[in-house]
Point group: C2
Chain length 117, copies 2
């Protein structure tokens, strides 16, 4: 069993690389892709592609299913939920700034209305 | 100027390490801490602490302000917003499963009601 902190670390590590993020985004648009379909947009060799897929598998973000000679890669986004929940506690910082911005805009508007009278 | 993909990569990289995540969580609870306050919970030396702070600074997640001989570290959570927005598009996967679960619970309830008649 991998613990929470380790899972979180693996998820964030998997998301560091832009190629891996692009692969996840590809699987988000249409789930289930062959390895060659996943590799197509990138100017990297098959070994590098397989290495990225290993990191994503290790993080539990994809599953590979073999049927005959074809390997189908599927998205398993659940670990991202924990990552998002971790980030969520910082949300109040930007929603607070938005609140302050709204309050400022409203005070400016009130000011303008007073002057307009 | 660092572009979007690079910023995202730096943010996720900063979040890979549990010590760095703990430092951010500490700053989330009460913003503004000295380096020794931040270092206190960890069994690591000052050079390792400073290295972690460098990674966090590089990712734009903290700012260090010097006043006399004291360095105050402050949280700058904005880059996490982009990271969260990136993750958000996967949210439909778990909210969908929740929808399915709700639908299932409702159908079970309807079934039970029918039988109860």
């Amino acid at each position: 069993m991998v613990n929470y902190q380790e899972r979180l670390g693996r998820t964030f590590f998997a998301l560091v690389d832009p190629t891996r993020r692009a692969m996840l985004a590809r699987l988000e648009r249409s789930d289930g892709a062959s390895i060659s379909e996943l590799a197509r947009p990138f100017a990297i060799g098959l070994p590098a592609v397989l290495k990225h897929l290993d990191v994503l598998t290790e993080a539990g973000l994809i599953i590979r299913a073999k049927s005959g000679r074809t390997v189908t890669v599927r998205l398993r986004p659940q670990p991202m939920r924990e990552a998002m929940d971790w980030l969520r506690r910082y949300e109040r910082f930007w929603s607070n700034s938005l609140d302050r911005l709204t309050a400022y805009a409203e005070s400016m508007e009130a000011e303008a209305r007073k002057k307009g009278r």
